[in-house]
Symmetry: C2
């Protein structure tokens, strides 16, 4: 009877708040003597790694940091940043990893907005941090990570990180509530101010568990750390490694020769990387002459690598799987799971299949593609576009100190991705465009991504971006902004004709503007400025 079941209240024996801290505690016991991390000549086992995390946590607590306090970090991927993924939550505080490619103005904004109480800064980032402090006219306490493997000497911008690591290790402590904030990740939006995405302990626990299950991570993977840990905490992979007793290999820089050397000497089994890194890797002269064996499982996110890159990756022994997600979803929420029957397809068709964003990871509750007008799922016809909407425990708690943006993101009980996508008949999702970048011409959706892909095949085009320009008859028409390669030329008419030969005529640009494209500090094209420029050109007819 219902009431008899409901008298069984949770107690400390059978209810533990979900937190990735538990994974580290277990790893120290179960995988104690197995390698956790290697960087240059230094290898630490899980027992030693966990001791250092507990020492750093104790050191942070001694500095007065605790529940709800934000600790900012400016560092490339190093063992110290890996340790901080456990040490900061262990002292109850919130980890705010800042993109190290940002300009001082944005770093200054993030330090202010996040209410950070301490900055842990790699020596190489000291100048950016000092510039940010100058802009804010306010310093914060600083701890300096001096990377001796990289040959750095202390700048004395702050106390050395190693003094924290020499503290007496703290006890294992979990948050009182699994919804307690764990991390704060600022989105590198292309418009406006970056927004602070809040993760909680429960979400990180489930993201890490779901990644192990969804990616099929075995016990003891050797994982090459390439995805920056300031992007969604490296897709939460640092926490997942503790579940399976993985071995994290660090190279600090994502230079292809360093990566290939690390892959070979440590026999890497798994990695994740942006498509551009994947491309550099497979096109590098340091790539091995024969396929790497056993084959390496690689995840990539963002614009799918071109077919030629995927083919070459496969020939080198890399099994690349496309994943999709956002900062707001702790990283990947979908994956392009390989279907056995694809193995019989020609390479170009295989590459097309691999370019899909695929199906939901196990920790995702619902992943839909919705017609925003009707609120219904789009048909699984591979053609009808809708917006990707998500529900699940690995959706952010919200934007820090931005109730308006939080409410907008969570309309109607879903998180709205802002990505336009189709669903194929096999249920696989494929992104077409950012929703705001879709051009609606004569009632037809035109994917700016598709038009840009056609433009990029033109030999004179260095980089191109396509936005909507008002059109008297069609509503909107594609307008291309093109940056030409040095010493190369092309006319507007020639570019338009080139595109009409390759994509449907209504999708080809009706305007081509030659100029240097506006970009953010991290190299993203600022389409909102181009949209304004296209509007300023006036209505076409």
């Amino acid at each position: 009877m219902r009431e008899e079941f409901e008298t069984l209240a949770p107690c400390s024996a059978n209810h533990v708040p979900l937190s990735p801290i538990s994974f580290l505690k277990r790893a120290a016991q179960v995988y104690g003597k197995r390698p956790a991390v290697t960087y240059g000549p230094v290898t630490r086992d899980w027992a030693g790694f966990a001791s250092r995390c507990r020492a750093v946590a104790a050191g942070l607590a001694r500095l007065g940091l605790g529940r709800g306090d934000t600790v900012a970090v400016l560092s490339p991927n190093t063992p110290a940043l890996f340790e901080l993924h456990f040490a900061v939550p262990l002292c109850g505080a919130v980890l705010n990893t800042i993109n190290i490619r940002l300009e001082p103005e944005t770093v200054a904004y993030i330090l202010r907005h996040s209410d950070s109480r301490l900055v842990i800064c790699d020596t190489a980032l000291a100048p950016v941090l000092q510039a940010a402090f100058a802009l804010n006219r306010q310093d914060l306490p600083v701890i300096e990570i001096v990377d001796e493997v990289a040959g750095h000497s202390a700048t004395r911008i702050g106390a050395p990180y190693e003094t924290l690591a020499e503290s007496a290790p703290c006890d294992w402590t979990l948050p009182d509530d699994e919804h307690q904030a764990l991390a704060l990740n600022y989105t590198s939006g292309t418009t406006g101010k970056p927004k602070g995405v809040v993760y909680h302990h429960r979400g990180a626990y489930l993201m890490a568990m779901g990644t192990v299950a969804g990616w099929g991570l075995p016990q003891h993977p050797t994982y090459l750390s390439v995805v920056p840990m300031f992007h969604c905490n490296g897709w939460n992979h640092p926490w997942a490694m503790a579940i399976v007793g993985g071995h994290m290999i660090f190279t600090r820089d994502a230079l292809p020769e360093k990566l290939w050397a690390a892959i070979a000497s440590h026999r890497v089994t798994h990695l994740g990387a942006a498509p551009i890194v994947m491309q550099m890797l497979v096109e590098s002269p340091h790539a091995p002459a024969t396929p790497f064996s056993p084959r390496i499982k690689a995840l990539t996110a963002g614009a799918p690598p071109p077919p030629s890159v995927l083919e070459r990756a496969s020939a080198l022994g890399l099994d690349v799987m496309q994943v999709y997600g956002l900062t707001e979803t702790y990283g990947h929420i979908s994956q392009c799971l390989w279907q056995e029957e694809w193995s019989d397809l020609p390479p170009a068709r295989q590459a097309a299949m691999q370019a899909m964003q695929g199906v939901a990871f196990p920790m995702v509750e619902d992943l839909r593609v919705v017609d925003r007008k009707t609120g219904l799922d789009v048909p699984a016809d591979g053609l009808t576009q809708g917006e990707i909407a998500v529900r699940g425990n690995t959706v952010m708690s919200g934007y820090y100190k931005d109730a308006t943006a939080t409410a907008r993101a969570f309309r109607d009980g879903w998180f709205w991705s802002g990505d336009a996508a189709v669903v194929h008949p096999d249920g696989y999702v494929q992104i077409r465009d950012r929703l705001k970048d879709v051009i609606i011409s004569g009632g037809e959706n035109i994917s700016s991504v598709e038009v840009e892909a056609a433009l990029h095949r033109h030999p004179a085009v260095q980089v191109a971006a396509v936005v909507a320009r008002p059109h008297s008859r069609w509503g909107e028409a594609p307008c291309a902004f093109v940056e030409l390669r040095a010493d190369m030329q092309a006319s507007e008419a020639e570019i338009i004709a080139f595109c009409r030969d390759r994509i449907a005529h209504f999708k080809a640009p009706r305007t081509v503007v030659f100029q240097t494209l506006p970009k953010t500090a991290t190299g993203k094209i600022q389409k909102y400025l181009l949209r304004e420029a296209a509007k300023a050109l006036g209505e076409q007819s």
Copy 2:
């Protein structure tokens, strides 16, 4: 700042109750066309399987079953029982799988105590159910599973299960609260009445996820269903299969020839089985002549199989891993993870390593071996015994309608297993005995299991059990009860001498009683009766 983080309240976009129902929903979408279940000539894919689960749930709801209502099931492992693991929770009710080897008296007790409102019964169990109804002088509504693959015809004890499966599928519904009861499993205790162990949705979700991560289950395992689903819901493996799109193979009976035929024809990759089934499997004349390839991952729980069985299993292509757990912990909480250096040991040493209960699964928060007097962990010396204590989200909610037993099990914020164990220097736990079976003689702990193992090596001994007999000088002394093989004989002095040749003298029995041993309906020896008998023999001197 803490208060800014704490304004971010969970909403339906970012908070979903943890439930294994979510795994099935995703499996239907992501693995829709892949096989979920095969039994005889019938195979169903995950889309079809999920539809049937939803139909059965709708059928149950139509019968008036909902939140907090208990549905009892008497069935061997069949696809119907697999479906009920999702269908019953999906309609909000609680699944009470009853051990099919129990005598009618205990079945009657469980039906009464569990407040079951419906019984779903396989044709073969109809006589037991009818006897239980007669004992209770009360019938319950019955649904009959008619196993046509097994050649059964309906007895009309109740409406056929297939009419439920023909209902219009219900919508996907999750519990309001992840702590809502999901399953009720009665322990087959050797003393007193069985106790009803309550599982909740959160626990089953985490158990299934942790099993995938801890066992390293890949995508699409082919899993042979051998562990009875009335034991801890088959170690929660039915739910885990939905996470990875596994293929469950059913044989109904665990006959070695059927199991080997299924392993070969479906290319089984994973299975779990009791040691006795493992032994029957490897000793069967139907075992393959050459090692099965690729090798099969097998879990076994309970008393570790003898070294000869492990050696033979390995030669047949089975990688057997010992796991340990209790009904109260949803099944396995520890596993004897293989250490690479063991591969260099001689087979007998390897078997000894494989006999350990090992280290915690990822979903277990704490697994300790505690000296109950001091409350401290025993030293990791492989010698000092303590009691295994556990904390974590996969510890039962409590015993149904038994607040006293629940409070006793959860003393001091831990679940006390009642198992005496040691910790080896590498951190691996090894069970020595049930705590209440340990004999304390002259201050030394004697494991009844160890003495019994020595007795079992005597050619005339069919089965033996050892308990404590009061002793004037040593406090307690081992007393053996021995059932001899038909047509074989042995004297007390001969048996004692045989043991003294093989184990420390103080561990050898000081009394041997020849008799048929008292056993439960499921074949467990009732040691509490032997303890009474030993006490009745009077104090030894």
